[in-house]
């Protein structure tokens, strides 16, 4: 799960990282009130989970409450990469003398956390990484974390002033605590600003949480914004399905992530376009199948639904029962193509046959049949 900047800053503040005071607003009036209470110059930032907010006009400076009101009104009307902006963060603005970059990320190849820092932070960091990667310092961290002297030595080449080195080292150690105790796979500060007075402040915050660790973080659920999810994605998450919407017209219901990806690839290989990735998981009950059909049929582009099931722990008869149950509840407006092989395959065929449905055994055949049906519907 990716956190919004305002959520990540809350997490940072809890760990004693220096962030500037601010609050999130959903209306221009709220933004005006927050700006009044903060006084002085404020910065307004669109809270959407995509990059490039600044370039899309989602970040504005405002002097005083009235300017904040108008800036919030402009930002709250924006769509950034198709996402409507529903929230805006209003925070005290800082004067910036320098912008650094600091992050901790999981390096899966090395199987270790990796600290990255650069003297050239700011919006162009990806460009810096591409053009002059040597300007980004990389150090792996042992699972026990960093010692203060190690943190200081990392920053000494970047910062001339001793007090700034100490501040930066302290920030890195606290960011490490956020990363480890917070079960993050990414914790990033960009920019880590140095003010003209020589104080270091985290002006932005980006955090990705490891979804698998949710069982030990009860507060994560509060961070999940239902409006960030489409109804389909929400239903999928609640039912333990894995769903990613794509742009095609062939809806796919598959058991297992690898097979689901291979099914999408095969659809494309034979000239079709997959409408989604959907993994119903291992031990799939008939209810999961019903939920899967509900999610897929809510996508109006879908012209045909393809089941590709290789029974292992998943029992083919469970899937067949789920299909039959769904059809009884609400008949499908689009054709159905079913491929079944593996555990309890014969029983599944019997269940389907009683409803006048049939299933193929080959994945290639199933995919080709689905593409043919989609074209029929089109014609």
């Amino acid at each position: 799960m990716n956190l919004h900047e305002y959520q990540a800053k809350e997490l940072f503040a809890r760990h004693g990282l220096p962030v500037l005071p601010g609050q999130v607003a959903t209306t221009p009036e709220e933004a005006r009130n927050i700006a009044t209470s903060l006084g002085d110059t404020v910065v307004l930032k669109a809270q959407v989970l995509v990059g490039g907010r600044g370039k899309a006009g989602g970040v504005k400076l405002a002097r005083g409450a009235e300017e904040a009101y108008h800036a919030a009104r402009a930002i709250l009307g924006l769509k950034i990469q198709d996402l409507p902006v529903r929230k805006v963060l209003v925070a005290r603005a800082a004067e910036i003398a320098r912008e650094l970059y600091l992050s901790i990320v999981l390096d899966r190849a090395a199987q270790l956390p990796l600290v990255m820092l650069s003297a050239e932070g700011g919006v162009e960091i990806e460009e810096v990484a591409r053009v002059s990667p040597e300007k980004i310092l990389r150090r792996h961290v042992s699972l026990d974390g960093l010692r203060p002297y190690q943190a200081r030595s990392l920053f000494r080449p970047l910062l001339a002033d001793g007090s700034q080195v100490s501040q930066a080292a302290d920030i890195l150690l606290r960011l490490w605590a956020v990363f480890r105790d917070g079960d993050c796979t990414l914790a990033e500060i960009n920019p880590l600003a140095v003010t003209p007075e020589g104080k270091l402040v985290a002006l932005d915050a980006k955090v990705t949480l490891d979804d698998n660790a949710e069982f030990r973080h009860r507060d994560w659920n509060l961070w999940r914004d239902p409006e960030d999810e489409t109804p389909g994605a929400r239903l999928a998450r609640e039912r333990g399905l894995s769903y990613v919407k794509l742009d095609g017209d062939i809806g796919c219901v598959v058991n297992g992530a690898g097979l689901a990806m291979a099914t999408m690839d095969l659809v494309k290989h034979y000239g079709g376009e997959p409408a989604n990735f959907l993994d119903i998981g291992g031990s799939s009950s008939p209810d999961k199948v019903t939920a899967a059909l509900k999610i897929i049929t809510s996508d109006s582009r879908v012209r045909v639904i393809l089941f590709n099931i290789f029974g292992g722990i998943t029992r083919c008869d469970d899937v067949a029962r789920g299909i039959v149950q769904s059809l009884e509840q609400s008949p499908l407006a689009v054709p159905l193509v079913i491929r079944l092989t593996g555990t309890n395959e014969d029983l599944a065929r019997k269940i389907l046959a009683e409803r006048g449905l049939s299933a193929t055994t080959s994945m290639d055949e199933g995919v080709r049949a689905a593409i043919a049906k989609a074209q029929e519907v089109f014609a």
Binding site: L106, R108, A109, Q111, L112, L143, R180, D183, T185, D210, D211, N212, A213, F215, R216, S242, V244, L246, V254, N255, G256, A257, G258, L259, A260, M261, A262, M264, D265, L266, V267, K268, H269, P274, F277, D279, G282, S283, F310, G311, G312, I313, T314, T341, G342, T343, M363, D364
Partner: protein, 357 residues
């Protein structure tokens, strides 16, 4: 033969009293696996499908001399179960559990790596454990033993080694191999998580050294760089033919495709890069799963031809090569002399192919 598990495998199941633990214990017993013990804290003294249950791995080891453990406990307790198995001296630990936090996975993977380096480091039991998984389907040596959740009936004994990051996609490929008459030495799923104990490279090394494995099928997917590392390793060290397949060619960047490890992030982990890495070292990459058996069959034929050509009598080699390439053998100018030339030519091509790897 096989890698890692065979008739000598004595299995204990951690989490045997759970729904999945009980079900798969039954399946493994039916397949012929020697399941000698189960472990669930607080349930010692019970029996599941005739298998005695113990309170701890150490007790189970003392009573049954198990050498392999399969872990099917819920994710919050899985890392602890792995530590317990490692401390008790279990040699092979297979973690099926899905959804383990990456922080926990890092801790166990580093601990096991340290144990493999210095097995004596003050632990209760001496051992160099190997961890497979987490989030994997386990492994099967057809006809000998099965440790995990792969459906045994789709496998067939033979000489193809299969290694994969996926579960059901592995079944799909194994099924197609078996149907084409290509049996398997061992099929192993390394797991779909970003941090895993045994990698493609580790498994390739085992298959390369296994006298009964003649060809290897590697099933990768988007995310990470394990496939690229595997390609480099094949170039350096693997002489057996390898066929690869990469799932997720149509996956959009930035989205997690079910597996925690399957995500194209920051421009790396794309299928196209992985496919290019394999092709660059001479490993054919199937475009679709159904191409895999044909490619394996072809490479096995060639390998048999190559083996024959490596024999001291080159004339014999010529015949064997010609037999595996009917088009060439059926050419109009088929004389003894020409056949010799063809054989040497074939040999050179082989040499080029190998050195280009």
């Amino acid at each position: 033969m096989s890698i890692l598990i065979d008739k000598g495998t004595r299995l204990l199941v951690q989490g045997i009293t759970g729904r999945d633990g009980g079900f798969h214990t039954r399946q493994m017993l039916d397949y012929g696996t020697k399941v000698v013990a189960g472990v669930t804290p607080g349930r010692g003294g019970e029996k599941i499908h005739g298998v005695p249950v113990f309170d701890s791995v150490a007790e189970a080891m003392a009573a049954t001399r198990a050498n392999t453990s399969m872990i099917v406990v819920p994710a919050p307790f899985a890392a602890d179960a792995i530590f317990e198995a490692a401390d008790a001296g279990v040699g092979l630990i297979v973690c099926i559990t899905e959804g383990i936090p990456v922080r926990d996975a890092l801790a166990v993977v580093h601990d096991i790596a340290a144990l493999r380096k210095s097995p004596d480091s003050g632990r209760p039991a001496r051992g160099r454990p190997r961890l497979i998984g987490p989030n994997c389907p386990g492994l099967i040596s057809p006809g000998l033993s099965k440790v995990g959740i792969l459906p045994g009936q789709i496998c067939k004994p033979g000489s193809v080694g299969v290694v994969s990051r996926s579960g059901t996609l592995t079944y799909e490929v194994v099924h197609q191999l078996s149907q084409s008459g290509l049996g398997q030495s061992t099929c192993l799923g390394v797991g779909g998580d970003p941090v895993i104990g045994t990698t493609f490279v580790d498994t390739l090394a085992l298959f390369e050294d296994d006298s009964e494995t003649d060809a290897i099928v590697l099933i990768g997917e988007i995310g990470g760089t394990d496939e690229e590392e595997a390609a480099q390793f094949i170039k350096r060290r693997v002489r057996k033919p390898v066929v690869a397949f990469i799932a997720g060619q149509t996956a959009p960047p930035g989205k997690r495709m079910g597996h925690a490890g399957a995500i194209v992030a920051g421009g790396t982990g794309q299928a196209s890069e992985k496919i290019a890495a394999f092709r660059a070292v001479g490993v054919p990459v199937a475009r679709v799963p159904s191409e895999i058996p044909g490619l394996v069959g072809e490479l096995l034929e060639r390998r048999r031809g190559r083996r024959a050509s490596a024999r001291p009598k080159s004339r014999h080699a010529g015949r064997s090569l010609a037999a595996s390439r009917p088009a060439r053998a059926a050419g109009p100018k088929r004389t003894t002399a020409k056949r010799g030339t063809a054989a040497r030519g074939g040999g050179r091509r082989t040499a080029t192919r190998r050195s280009s790897r």
